[in-house]
Symmetry: D2
Subunit: 285 residues, 4 copies
Amino acid sequence: MKNEKAILLISCLDKGGIVAEISHFISTYNGNIIHSDQHNDDASNTFFMRIEWNLSGFTIPKDKISQAFEAIAIKFDMKWELKFSSERTKMAIFVSKYDHCLYELLLRNRAGELDADIVQIISNHEDARPIADYFGVPYEVFKITKDTKLDQEQKEIELLESRETDLVVLARYMQVLSPEFEARFRNRIINIHHSFLPAFIGAKPYHQAYTRGVKIIGATCHYVTQELDQGPIIEQDVTRISHRDTVEDLVAKGKNLEKLVLTQGVKLHLEHKVHVYGNKTVVFD
Amino acid sequence: MKNEKAILLISCLDKGGIVAEISHFISTYNGNIIHSDQHNDDASNTFFMRIEWNLSGFTIPKDKISQAFEAIAIKFDMKWELKFSSERTKMAIFVSKYDHCLYELLLRNRAGELDADIVQIISNHEDARPIADYFGVPYEVFKITKDTKLDQEQKEIELLESRETDLVVLARYMQVLSPEFEARFRNRIINIHHSFLPAFIGAKPYHQAYTRGVKIIGATCHYVTQELDQGPIIEQDVTRISHRDTVEDLVAKGKNLEKLVLTQGVKLHLEHKVHVYGNKTVVFD
Amino acid sequence: MKNEKAILLISCLDKGGIVAEISHFISTYNGNIIHSDQHNDDASNTFFMRIEWNLSGFTIPKDKISQAFEAIAIKFDMKWELKFSSERTKMAIFVSKYDHCLYELLLRNRAGELDADIVQIISNHEDARPIADYFGVPYEVFKITKDTKLDQEQKEIELLESRETDLVVLARYMQVLSPEFEARFRNRIINIHHSFLPAFIGAKPYHQAYTRGVKIIGATCHYVTQELDQGPIIEQDVTRISHRDTVEDLVAKGKNLEKLVLTQGVKLHLEHKVHVYGNKTVVFD
Amino acid sequence: MKNEKAILLISCLDKGGIVAEISHFISTYNGNIIHSDQHNDDASNTFFMRIEWNLSGFTIPKDKISQAFEAIAIKFDMKWELKFSSERTKMAIFVSKYDHCLYELLLRNRAGELDADIVQIISNHEDARPIADYFGVPYEVFKITKDTKLDQEQKEIELLESRETDLVVLARYMQVLSPEFEARFRNRIINIHHSFLPAFIGAKPYHQAYTRGVKIIGATCHYVTQELDQGPIIEQDVTRISHRDTVEDLVAKGKNLEKLVLTQGVKLHLEHKVHVYGNKTVVFD
């Protein structure tokens, strides 16, 4: 259990004494807090916390911590999750033909920057198979038509479950997922949209941006919900353009944004730094 | 005429030989080009140019240049304007209660950063009068109600005309101008909208941004057209926010953006660096 | 004491149980934590905390809180400060001829964005007196020559002390303060340097930037120490330039950076969000 | 010669009539200008131009254009280069162990974003060989010690010459090149330095940045000259950091900057948009 860390994610109605109880719990059992972040959302009177402590020396065995913490959780009617740094998230990547986001995720995972095991790549095209082979990740193609969509998604879900997938990342996957699929992985599907949402929702955002004549373009990493491009935003970034840029230039400049913004959003999720509440996020970065 | 410069703004259908003719015209009469920018819009096959040259030594008298250039203009069926650096734009500012954009314009004008004479401040409130007094600019209040709007605007137009106003700047002026007013100053009314357009059109964009949970907010400087917040964009900028920011924080952070973005857009206009075409701009900065 | 808040700034050697003790202290006396930030600097094994709680309902009287907290402070050998939201910092501004930073501070203070009383403006020139008059702030000129410097600074210190000055802000003040002056207001003098430190230390940074041919310029807000431009950095920001920009353009673009970066640094200090340790800062924003 | 374009890069002492002569030359032979950029450096009274025109319909054969243009070049004592869009630059990449910049260049080249043929990868380590194999680029290792450096560089130069290398890109290559090597490829060696130059010259810039406590880090793409990290800057960019970031975090965040800034600088060079003059650049982007 050397260097092993526990991470507690909590949200509940805000009232006095929460921090005192939690920090007392950790210090009583000899845990040393490494990071602690909290946020009080005034509008909804909600308290959010992320607290990370070292398990080396902690006197409750790892598999008993949840049980030990439960009394506090019940007292404050908390929504909570307990994570351990040694338990790597199992991540699947969906991709179509653009491969820049896929490469970015695979390369940065291999460089040790993402705490994930990439267990499966799924596509509606054959194109990215050589990439999967190069990185040694299983690759499966599910062709999608209007008629086959639900059937194919069902097979995708079975495959994802067989891989014990925790997180689905849509790395410029050009199909809209069904509500059934979304419900199966609620708050665990991360998408990259190639605009500064809520500007330019839907198809061909770079064409929309070009037509509107904006001076800045963006990319948005968000959780997928039932409404297209309306899910909770994790991360956004932008870059400057000018009248000299053609649509093709916007696409090329945008690709650099997309890959960085998606990977940053995934990284934050993997480090258990994102709370979803309503249609928004609290991101402790 | 020492240090006097001429600036020619041109747009026309793109075809061969335009640059050759214009630069030949200038060099024939002994003008020295200081800046020259051009752009070819492929989608509409339009050629844009801004060319600036020194009149010291130029052998055509200043008041005959237009006449001399006309043959070229006709040959290529150009839309064109000839400006002189010594002729300062007469600018009027409209303001309501927020005064940060007003101050920014007045201070940077006084610091010599804007080539304009600020000839009039108009408001629907008394609040900014002491500011106008401090800077020695005439201040007039026109209260606006639904019933009086057109009448009041008519008086505003008369006042603006009496001041020979070239440019109207809406510095967080909280009234929508009538189509009649807009038509009177087409492409010569600059507004600041406190969002990253086209996101968050209309009222209370910071509240909209807060509700949507975006991670970046913006400001947009644009020409006013008949459709609200849809005019050609001159300049935009953004700043990063987080879940910690309340609506009030967004308002405060946004004010810094608004004043800089508006002033930058106005500065570009005053330096004759903006072409409007359709609903877009070419900005030679 | 309605809406009154207490803010505790703490640093000490990191060990287990600190957060538990502090949060227990606050909750025992019925305080409700509004914000809490902590940081553990691994290199120096130092723990930093900023904790803010509502005094409405807190059962220790305001003037007894320090005394009550002292036992915990001693136990962990803390460096600590207790601040109250109702106690506004008394701020003096030093300025020379450039007035853009001075205006920004005065305007944003008047707009309620800075929790300070501006009690004095000091300059080595007469130029800014009308600004001080307009904002109703006392203005005093102390001419500085090599020979008179220490004497004049002594008079400045007396004036500042008579105003009970807590914070000195150098708003493009073009004199280097003596070590004696610095020692008198250690960690309470904030300067704006017009470069991206540590690039371009010393005089004429925009000229240096122009000569080096950088593509981005910056501004740095820092605490003044005995070594020129070497003090702990609070805030920095940058803007893009190109080969088209002359030194004068850099100066103009830089002014926008300087005023925003300085004001942001001052704001963070006024909200007691900055810890200085060694030559660095922890900024809880 | 369909879609073939000619690009002329010119610099000379500024005097009247240059643009007129060049544009007249192009239009006389029925060339259509696509892009034209010029810049006048007042300090050195130097005129810079980049002009790009379509060869479809141009009445001088491609291999006679240089000869035809020479009279103008001599008249104005120009330094000039004539490039053709069909002639792809032959680029070699030097790399050590960090592979993020190497991957970025290879991937974006394969995506068609860089107009180059990558003809050789050279390293002082074996590590990147599988990457070279995957992309089908020759890979050669030259171990460098103090004693063998000049000999090994000589062999590198021979290999580069056998590949007709036009451009050498140092993609986090951790060896300093000798003056002899630099002289052989003057203004044709592009390096990425992992700091915002001139801050943090030399070794371990992220450690230096961490120690100084800056709030922003950067990366700089520049031509290599005889003085370490002093060459003409092509492109820079920055990203925000905080007290929470360890040196390892700076390294990870910096890697994203490095790969984008290096590739952008290389792209500008490949598109013949960079003029070097003295120790600075004019970049027409």
